[in-house]
Amino acid sequence: MKTVIDAHNISKTFNPETIPVLAVDKVHLHLERGEFTALVGPSGSGKTTLLNLIGGLDKPDTGNILINGVDITLLSANALIDFRLHNIGFVFQSFNLIPVLTAKENVELIMQLQHSKRASIEKRVRALFQEIGLEDKMQTRPAQLSGGQQQRVAVARALAPKPQFVLADEPTANLDSKSAANLLDIMAKLNQEENITFIFSTHDARVIERARRVITLVDGQIHADTAHVETNVAHEGFSTNK
């Protein structure tokens, strides 16, 4: 299996000068291509911070994060933006589609940032809308889509640039059960059929249930790391904080 994320001894403290909050504490994390992983834990356990760190949105105070062999902690701010564009897909809790663009234009936007050719954008976007089952909604504005539909478009947007992995922060938090199940079906299908790596930060039992690996964070440290579906026991191949 190909290693996608390899994080060593990463720590992150907020407000170091005033009231320090240790959000991530010496975490070691190793993820391989095709994983379907949930980061779980109580509020304030460091899930979102860890997701931000491996997504290159924030820099750790200590440690290194290698994505496909590239240490992103050494990249400049601009290089990091470029790296995210080509390697990391994001799905946010509140969909965050651009309201003035149609669903199709929202997905196209990322590929346009990548300077992809018009024909390849067209082909890729059509295929993605087929995957998410919203071919008939391509020209619809986000406001006319349901929450579930918007989140499916957000998944298509995350996948459009063919990233190394997709980070999803509470993707089902704002969805009803049916929409959440539908979204998870789509992501699971993409994971199984196209071997796309998904990492979720979630509280949602429906997501945890579908994940094949569950990493539990408590006080910024990895408390448990379990291969959920196949064995439901500690996955020895994955390192935890020491």
């Binding site: 933006i81 965050n96 196209e108």
Partner: protein
């Protein structure tokens, strides 16, 4: 192209807000164009009145005459020099003059006066002198009679067809004396001109001052007064340093000073207007930044470089400001044209003052294209400068903080 499309769509994301911003710029451009146009129109009219009243746009004298305006500083009338001057494309007319002072006497009293020898026809084309004749007739080319200002005639106790005696000092200290019948009475709005002016035909003045063929000045009329300095430079180059070529601005610096002072107060008013526009634009930008902070953070998180985001915001600002400017300029064109065609008329005391000076009591508008372009450009530059605010915010943007709700 897609960025422009996105900017256009973003611009209309909040239609009311964009419409209000464009409307604010629209009305500000109209106001600033119309006020500038009226101000320039009034000044142009003032200059036209003053210049056509007496001085002409440009005058040619013997070098040093303006500093010491005496008959010994005259020059010989020359057809060659006149031809060189008239060869300048912007010169439409030329009128020779011989000006000096003398004492005018009637049977009972003597007063000082300013004697001007003129070529009646040429002079009339430039200063419209014939229009000021309120009694009697205008001069002919070889007339041996005089036109006197109404005030001077009254102070001397003389009437039309009476005879006055002129006594003075002629060219190179010669005694100048002559007896002239009054052919016409002139009325000037300016009390100075009314009380002191006396006009003779040029040959009669030259004979009176023993200055045959001599002149103190050529008065020049221009086709396009806007090219004043360039034309004066052209004349200067054509006739050489023996002569001094002066624009009306050099001869009457007090008028320029008056215009500058007046423009200064107008700049303050326009400054306040621009400040109001700035507040309107900055208010929109602040609202926009607050509303879209999350989205901007998300775009940077997804991989949009900050420079691209800045371009996007700049395009949105430029499109909004340009729309307001273009619509404002388009709307101000017919307004200015109407005010040019049908100028605002003064009434009451102000009208009387203008009429007394022989000026039409109007508030005309200037159609100068530069006014439209300048005002449009000022608003555009202001808009662009204000756009720096969202740019700075984007540079400082931290996607994580921006996406925190």
């Amino acid at each position: 192209m897609w960025l422009m499309k996105l900017a256009w769509k973003n611009m209309w994301r909040n239609r009311n807000r964009t419409a209000i911003t464009i409307a604010a710029i629209f009305f500000a451009v109209i106001l600033s164009v119309v006020t500038s146009s009226l101000q320039d129109g009034v000044f142009d009219n003032l200059i036209k009145n003053v210049v056509s009243f007496y001085s002409g746009y440009v005058q040619v004298h013997k070098q040093g005459y303006w500093d010491e305006r005496i008959l010994d500083n005259t020059f010989a009338q020359s057809g060659a020099v006149e031809r060189k001057i008239l060869q300048q494309k912007n010169i439409s007319d030329i009128a020779p003059r011989l000006e000096s002072f003398a004492l005018a006497s009637s049977e009972e009293t003597t007063k000082g006066c300013m004697v001007t020898g003129i070529s009646p026809e040429e002079e009339n084309r430039i200063t419209d002198l014939q229009r000021r004749v309120v009694a009697g007739e205008y001069l002919t080319a070889d007339d041996r009679s005089v036109l006197v200002g109404q005030g001077l005639a009254s102070r001397l106790g003389l009437q039309l067809h009476d005879t006055l005696v002129l006594i003075g000092q002629g060219y190179h200290g010669a005694t100048a004396a002559g007896k002239y019948p009054i052919k016409g009475i002139l009325k000037f709005g300016s009390p100075d001109l009314n009380d002191q002016s006396l006009f003779l035909s040029l040959p009669a003045a030259q004979e009176f001052y023993s200055a045959e063929s001599m002149l103190t000045s050529y008065v020049l009329a221009l086709r396009n007064p806007a090219s004043l300095v360039g034309t004066a430079d052209g004349v200067r180059a054509a006739i050489g340093n023996t002569y001094e070529t002066m624009t009306w601005e050099e001869m009457m610096p007090e008028i320029i000073q008056h215009i500058r002072t007046d423009k200064g107060s107008m700049y303050i008013i326009q400054g306040i207007l621009y400040m109001l526009i700035c507040f309107g634009i900055i208010g929109t930008l602040l609202m926009m930044m607050v509303e879209r902070k999350y989205e901007m953070g998300m775009l940077v998180a997804l991989g949009m470089k900050k420079i691209k985001l800045m371009q996007l915001l700049l395009m949105e600002s430029v499109l909004t400001v340009i729309s307001g400017c273009v619509f404002g300029i388009m709307a101000s064109v017919p307004i200015v044209y109407y005010l040019y065609k049908y100028p605002i008329r003064f009434t009451g005391e102000m009208a009387k003052v203008y009429e007394e000076f022989g000026f039409e009591p109007i508030f005309p508008a200037s159609r100068d294209v530069n006014i439209f372009l300048t005002q449009g450009a000022i608003v555009l530059v202001l808009g662009l400068l204000l756009s720096l605010y969202p740019m700075i915010k984007v540079v400082q943007l931290d996607p994580i903080k921006a996406m925190k709700k």
